[in-house]
C-alpha cells in the first residue's frame, strides 16, 4: 500500500467502495497528508488547538468530497485548494465576527497636498494597470508577496509572517511599511512626470 501513489490509492478505493480494502487505501492516503495539513493549519491559526480543529475540518471536507477529485491535478494540489479555501473562509468568518480592524491603510497613496492625484483622471482599467506596474516595479519579491496576501487576500499580518517564515522582529508589518513607502515614492515620481508632461 505504501508504494502506491496518492492517485493510485484513490483509484483502489473506488474499485470497491465501502470495502475494507477501500477503507485501508483511504486511511493510507489521508494519513500521508496529516503533517502537511497540520502545518498549514498551524501557520494559519498560530495556535495548536485551533489548528487541530481546523485540520480535522479540512480533512473531513476532503474526505466527504473525494468523489469530486478527477485527477486533473495531483491529490496534493487538490488538497491544497481545499485547505486554502477552508482556512481562508474560516479566517474571513472570524474576521467578520470580531469586526477586523477597518483597513483604510491603502488611502496612504492619496496625494499629500490634498489635490486630486493625476491617476484619478485615468479610466479604471488604466488605473489598475498603473497600480500593477508600481507594485511590480517598486517592490521586491517578499514585499510583493506580503502586499498581495494582505491587501488582495486579506490575510492578517501575523498569518503572513508565519506562512512566509519571516524571522525579522516585526515580521510582515515591516514589509508592509516598506512597501507603502516605496509605492508612495513610485506614485510621487509618476505624478511628477505626468504633471510636468502636461
Amino acid at each position: 500500500m505504501q508504494q502506491l501513489s496518492d492517485e493510485e490509492l484513490i483509484a483502489r478505493s473506488r474499485l470497491a467502495p465501502g470495502s475494507a480494502a477501500s477503507a485501508e487505501a483511504l486511511n493510507e492516503l489521508f494519513q500521508r497528508h496529516f503533517r502537511r495539513v497540520s502545518l498549514w493549519c498551524l501557520r494559519f491559526t498560530g495556535n495548536p488547538e485551533r489548528a487541530a480543529d481546523l485540520a480535522q475540518e479540512v480533512l473531513t471536507s476532503a474526505w466527504r468530497h473525494l468523489d469530486s477529485f478527477q485527477g486533473a491535478s495531483k491529490f496534493t494540489t487538490w488538497l491544497y485548494t481545499i485547505s486554502r479555501n477552508h482556512c481562508y473562509n474560516s479566517l474571513k468568518s472570524r474576521a467578520a465576527e470580531s469586526a477586523m480592524e477597518g483597513d483604510d491603510a491603502l488611502a496612504f497613496l492619496a496625494d499629500p497636498r490634498g489635490a486630486e492625484p493625476a491617476e484619478d483622471r485615468l479610466d479604471r482599467a488604466n488605473q489598475i494597470r498603473l497600480a500593477h506596474e508600481w507594485i511590480q516595479e517598486a517592490l521586491d519579491e517578499t514585499e510583493r508577496r506580503v502586499f498581495t496576501l494582505h491587501y488582495a487576500e486579506e490575510m492578517p499580518l501575523e498569518v503572513i509572517t508565519r506562512m512566509l517564515g519571516l524571522t525579522n522582529a516585526s515580521g510582515a508589518k515591516a514589509y508592509i511599511v516598506s512597501a507603502r513607502r516605496k509605492l508612495q515614492e513610485a506614485a510621487r515620481r509618476w505624478r511628477a512626470r505626468n504633471e510636468s508632461a502636461r
Binding site: 475494507a20 477503507a23 485501508e24 486511511n27 489521508f30 496529516f34 503533517r35 502537511r36 495539513v37 497540520s38 502545518l39 498549514w40 493549519c41 498551524l42 495548536p48 489548528a51 487541530a52 485540520a55 480535522q56 475540518e57 473531513t60 474526505w63 468530497h65 468523489d67 469530486s68 478527477q70 486533473a72 491535478s73 496534493t76 494540489t77 491544497y80 485548494t81 481545499i82 486554502r84 479555501n85 481562508y88 473562509n89 474571513k92 468568518s93 467578520a96 483597513d103 483604510d104 491603510a105 491603502l106 488611502a107 492619496a110 486630486e116 489598475i128 497600480a131 500593477h132 507594485i135 510583493r144 508577496r145 498581495t148 491587501y151 488582495a152 487576500e153 486579506e154 506562512m163 512566509l164
Partner: protein
Amino acid sequence: MNPQDRSEFWSSAARAGAECLNPEELEALLEGRGDARQQDHLKDCPACAAELGLLSSFVTCEPRPDEVAAVDAIAAKLRSPAPAPAPGRTARARWNFSVPAWAVGLAALVLVAGLAWQVRLWRDPALRVDESGDSSIVRSGGLRILAPSGELKAPPEEINWEPAPGAHRYRVRILEVDDTLVWSAEAETWRVALPPDARAYFVPSKTLRIEVEALDAGGRILRAGSSRAVVKP
C-alpha cells in the same frame, strides 16, 4: 477617488484576475512543466506568484524548528484511534483497524448536520429544500461551492468553489429563492469577488441561492453546483 475606492483600486491591482493561473497550471510551474505563457504570466502577476509560494510551502511541507513539535502533536491527534468499545462488548472484525479521530469527527459532523437540518425543517416548513444541487450534497459530476454556504455572519466578499477540470470559464449567479436573478458574473478562476452592489443583496434573514456553472471552451456546461446562504439577523 475616495479612500474606499482607493483601497479597492489597490487590492484589485494585486488580486487574482480572469487570466490568472488555476491550481493545475500552478502545479505545472512548481514541477517545472509550465509552458511559456504560464511562465510569462507568473513574471508579471503578484497574485499568482503569491499563490505559487503558498502551494509550494504546502507541497514541500517543511516545518521550521519551532513548528516541529506542534505539527507532530496535531498529526498525532488526528491519527489517534477512537475510544475502544465498552468492556463486555465485542467489536466486530471489520472495526479492528483503527478509526482515526478525524473520521470520528466526520461521523459527528454528519450527525450534527443531519440534526441541524431536521431542526431547520421543523422550524421553517415553508422553505422548500432545493435538493437538486445544494453544495452540501455532493454528487458525482457536481461542482462544489465552498463559500458562501449556510448561515453567514456578514455579507460575503467573494464566492469560491472547487475548480472543475477542463473548465474554460465559470458562470456565477445569485438568485432569490423564487429564482429571480439578482446578480451574475463570469470568471476564469475559481473565485469571484463580490462588488458592493452584489453584497447589498445579502440582507439579514434573506436566503439567496448561489449557482456556479463550469463551462468548456464551447460554452457547454461541464459541471454545476449551487449553495444557499443567509446572513444571520
